[in-house]
Amino acid sequence: MQKQDIKTQYMLDDSQSADGGQRIDTMTINMGPQHPSTHGVLRLILTIEGETVVKAVPDIGFLHTGIEKTAEAKTYHQALVLTDRMDYLAPLCNNLGYSLAVEKLLGIEDEINDKIRYVRVMLAELQRLASHLVWLGTHALDLGAQSVFLYCFREREMILDVFEDLSGVRMMTSYICPGGLQAELTPTFEKKVRAFTSIFPDRLQEYHNLLTNNQLWIERTRGVSVLKAEDAIAYGTSGPVLRGSGVVWDTRKAFPYSGYEQFDFDIPVGTNGDVYDRYLVRMLEMEQSLRIVNQALEGIPPGPYRVQDPKIAPPPKWQITGRMEALIHHFKLYTEGYRPPKGEVFVRTESPKGELGFYIVSDGTAKPYRMHVRAPSFANLEALPRMIEGSLLSDVVAAIGSIDIVLGEVDR
């Protein structure tokens, strides 16, 4: 890398600009990794002319922790906890994607019974609600509507209570694992979920009352950072960003996984591809998620919470003191781990941010040879310069909030 190249790309210096310094009224400013509105450690190098952004260069990598490299050194069960930490606002959705990929690799997809499927769907949709609540709260906060923030977090606390009840952990639960769920459903969790679902429709209406027809909100978001449908597909965006631009695509409908085909829900799609459409898509998605949670709650069938195969799922603890096979299976699973056959899989799921894909290559040993995560925020962020070049500086904040990035996922 030439020193010159680094300077023009990263340094805040206009004297080396391509046009020889003719545009004397551009200024290159840094929206640094520490910024309340970048939703994480995102650095944007903006070249502005007055208030208009002429060029935007995102600089990422501040949260790169080498998850993909670390996963190569862990067994499949150990690598599960790494997946929680990527999109840290929707850990259960990451777990679900990873578990589906490993189950496909192992070839035990048919052994995942309906109870596991229903519970996974219900938890994934609750997680989607939690993630969208954080998005709504922080996005509104960035644009000035500060009261929405704590209302959203108040509702999210109820969802985190459900997760804590089931797994003991509020956020990084790792509750969905390859083979099923980590533990049996507790007797109190249904009451907690119902407590949430009974009050949430009214709360959602409250948020609509505050923002959806609010003139200030509309002026701040309508027509801002438009991303056309062809650009959205070409730049590989997914999730509400893609749907906000008018493309009807949802992995839950196109390639249904974990029993989604048995649930009745709609996909909201926008028309203009502006911030307001993406906002509305996510609000309506919250409604649909609530619908799925209610359906799942009505009909969770009885059954074991984990695959019964002792070569994959460890036996219950009480058997270990009495039976030799249980002890040996427990030992082998926790020291060596299960060994999927050689091969590779790519499983896509619809996480709250978009299309989350897990590409796992197995070489027959107990550790994944390569785990690549197709992070939706990575591709969505790539489309950001396209969205904000030409718009005002204050619209940059609206745009970043509307694509709902999580830097843990972008950088891994």
Partner: protein, 206 residues
């Protein structure tokens, strides 16, 4: 006739017989292994004729013991046809440290960042890429961490300066990853001492 993944593989086999090295079907997923030279032509055909408009990801796998060393893997999705496909290209001959692959940024603009990530973490160069520079690692990093011969916890750093600036009275050694200023190589070059655990490829700044 509806285009499915299986029919795509058959069509590609007919249209580009010399480009396809092998095809695979594992757990219902179709993979086509191609020659690197015909990558762009085949991808343009997939985009224009078979409507694989969406590139999900570009990534790579390092098979250390094998020649060719790397697999560059492309995951495609066709939104109109609801079908998915995987393309693979095997590159990296025996003494080639930075193998070349043509870029697909002209076909799917989203490949820009994905290919930058593959360059950053594996060292695979994409010819024709508009802006090939590091994306996740610091800009002055010299090696490629996701390669199989790169240790998990990195190379030794001079104690106790893991991260952050090295104090002025301590020789950081050439190749220390602790210095974060972009022109740090010049500062280190002038010191004659070379660290024992020097990171490979850091002797001279290009």
């Amino acid at each position: 006739m509806a285009i499915t993944a299986v029919s795509t593989v058959t069509t590609i086999r007919e249209k580009f017989p010399q480009a396809v090295v092998e095809t695979d079907d594992f757990r219902g997923e179709q993979t086509i292994v191609l020659n690197p030279a015909s990558l762009v032509a085949l991808c343009t055909y997939l985009l224009k004729n078979l409507r694989y408009t969406y590139l999900s990801s570009v990534t790579a796998v390092d098979w250390l013991e094998r020649v060719p060393r790397y697999d560059v893997v492309y995951h495609l999705l066709s939104i109109p046809n609801q079908s998915e496909l995987r393309l693979k290209v095997r590159i990296g001959q025996r003494n080639e440290d930075h193998p070349f692959v043509p870029t697909v940024t002209g076909i799917w603009p989203t490949a820009n960042w994905f290919e930058r990530e593959v360059y950053d973490l594996f060292g695979i160069l994409f010819t024709g890429h508009p802006d090939l520079r590091r994306i996740l690692m610091p800009m002055d990093w010299t090696t490629h961490p996701l390669r199989k011969d790169y240790p998990l916890s990195g190379f030794d750093l001079p104690e106790p300066h893991w991260g952050g600036q090295v104090p002025y009275d301590v020789d950081p050694g050439v190749g220390s990853q602790t210095l974060r200023t972009p022109f740090s190589r010049e500062l280190n070059e002038s010191r004659s001492k070379i660290s024992q655990n020097q990171e490979p490829g850091t002797e001279k700044r290009k």
